[in-house]
């Protein structure tokens, strides 16, 4: 891994974002809109006397964390799309840049996006709903880190499909993560799922993360089991997906896809 080259690729994205109002808006627009809508729903539920314990913490917290996952995967997948759209893949992969360095730079991009969006959402939730996520922040940290890694995994999977199938798969950069939403138990506890889906959900790192988040937010306990499961599964899937990406990359080199994607 050559840090200079990773930084070089990173600078390319930073130049881009610094200039592109549309891209900046893209980062902040949806999360804020989500927050507005869910904030009102939460208030309505409270007014209506629905006794959902810790309703505010429940929905707003889930929403912010969901966005962490979504942005983390986008940081990876959209970075690839940017290269595809600007037909820059050839310039990158004919340079000494390695596949590992490429992936690393997109993952750092995703950390930057997540940090920007999550901070803004937290401030917003605090100002408008007096919801202080930092109070539970430290105990949430292991979950947030795991969520970012889950986002990378889904992002690398998405990227490999886009690389292999080209522009027709582009929409996955926005849609893929929602495929995992039902079994990630973002807004409801795992126990509402039918038994079969419950066992599947146990294999899905984000399910453990959101389940654990509820334990932190509502019961104020740190659910070690869920952290261990999420971390273990994430490590496993991370290794598998990176190996898969290298494999796909080689197939694309054989088929001559690298020089054609984006056409």
């Amino acid at each position: 891994m050559n840090v200079g080259r990773i930084g070089g690729l990173l600078s390319r994205h930073l130049y881009l974002y610094q200039r592109s109002f549309a891209r900046m808006l893209e980062i902040f627009y949806w999360p804020l809109l989500d927050l507005v809508v869910w904030g009102f729903i939460t208030m309505y539920l409270q007014d209506a006397g629905v006794s959902l314990h810790g309703a505010v913490a429940f929905f707003l917290g889930a929403l912010i964390l969901w966005d962490v996952l979504f942005r983390a995967q986008q940081g990876v997948a959209v970075s690839f799309l940017e290269e595809m759209w600007s037909r820059n893949l050839m310039n990158l992969f004919a340079s000494p840049l390695t596949v590992g360095e490429y992936l690393a730079s997109t993952m750092i991009m995703s950390i930057l996006k997540v940090t920007a969006v999550a901070s803004l959402m937290m401030v917003f939730a605090w100002v408008f709903y007096s919801y202080d996520m930092l109070k539970v922040g430290v105990s949430l940290l292991p979950f947030i880190i795991n969520l970012v890694v889950s986002g990378w995994i889904i992002g690398v999977l998405t990227t490999s499909i886009i690389m292999r199938f080209g522009q027709q798969a582009e929409v996955l950069a926005w849609g893929m993560v929602f495929l995992f939403q039902p079994i990630s138990c973002v807004f409801y506890p795992l126990e509402v799922l039918p038994p079969i889906l419950q066992s599947i959900a146990w294999m899905v790192p984000p399910a453990h993360i959101f389940e654990g988040m509820r334990a932190v937010l509502i019961e104020g306990v740190i659910p070690v089991t869920h952290i261990v499961w999420a971390t273990g599964l994430n490590l496993f899937f991370f290794v598998v997906i990176v190996a898969w990406f290298y494999h796909t990359f080689n197939i694309c080199k054989e088929k001559g896809m690298l020089v054609r994607v984006g056409e």
């Binding site: 390319r12 881009l16 600007s86 037909r87």
Partner: protein, 245 residues
């Protein structure tokens, strides 16, 4: 003669059942400009993409600086670069930003000076802050040439660097390349389907047709061997021959 700086042996590329490059072998020596000439679809671009490690060969080997590309990708690519009329660079970055990113990808030192120097050399200083999307075709070609030359490669691959450019710019680019190549002792692999340009630019020509090498030598040698008046006639004669098999 010195040891070749680039050695291609029995290089083959199949896409499914279609053979785009068929068992070709050639060398480039230090300071030499080798022209890869051939009609559209002959396999020129595919060959260059294999030399850049962007397409995996189906068979054969590629060595540069005595190293096998399959095993020493990073080391080799560090000393190689390419340009083409058909490539582009990120549109939302300025000329200067794009060059800086490239400089970092090639681990160059004193980036600002390097960028300034190459912009100066290619007479692009006035458009350094221009967004890449706003460049004319000629300016874009100069940008991709700047990105290739800035890294001071030992081997430069130029895939139809002058296609679709107006003659004035073509003239300038060719003159610049010749001069630069003479001073830097750079080796160049140059593709084109423009015979005049080939004759002017190359020390030696490899003529590719349906993925095969059908002729090789200096322009004069090739013209003589085929008993034609000039390279253009050889090209027409060869290009109109149906594919064997």
């Amino acid at each position: 003669m010195s040891k070749p700086i680039l050695e291609v042996r029995n290089l083959t590329k199949k896409f499914g059942d279609f053979t785009a490059v068929d068992n070709i072998s050639f060398d480039i020596h230090e300071g030499e400009i080798l022209g890869l000439l051939g009609p559209n679809g002959a396999g020129k671009t595919t060959t260059i993409h294999m030399l850049l490690g962007l397409i995996a060969p189906s068979a054969g080997s590629i060595h540069m600086f005595g190293l096998d590309l399959a095993e020493h990708r990073e080391e080799i690519l560090q000393q190689v670069n390419f340009s083409s009329t058909y490539i582009s660079m990120p549109f939302s970055l300025t000329v200067e930003e794009n060059l800086k990113v490239i400089a970092r990808l090639y681990s160059l030192q004193n980036i600002q000076q390097r960028v300034d120097a190459i912009l100066e050399k290619l007479e692009m200083s006035d458009i350094r802050s221009k967004l890449t999307r706003k460049l004319s075709t000629g300016q874009m070609s100069r940008l991709t040439l700047a990105k290739a030359l800035m890294t001071e490669p030992k081997i430069l691959f130029l895939d139809e660097p002058t296609a679709s450019l107006d003659p004035d710019i073509v003239h300038k680019i060719k003159a610049f390349l010749k001069e630069y190549q003479r001073n830097a002792g750079l080796s160049i692999l140059y593709t084109s389907h423009n015979m005049r340009e080939m004759e002017e630019m190359s020390n030696r020509i490899v003529f590719l047709q349906h993925g095969h090498i059908v002729a090789e030598g200096t322009a004069d040698q090739i013209v003589q061997r085929y008993g034609q008046r000039d390279l253009e006639e050889v090209f027409l004669k060869l290009a109109r021959e149906p594919k064997a098999q």
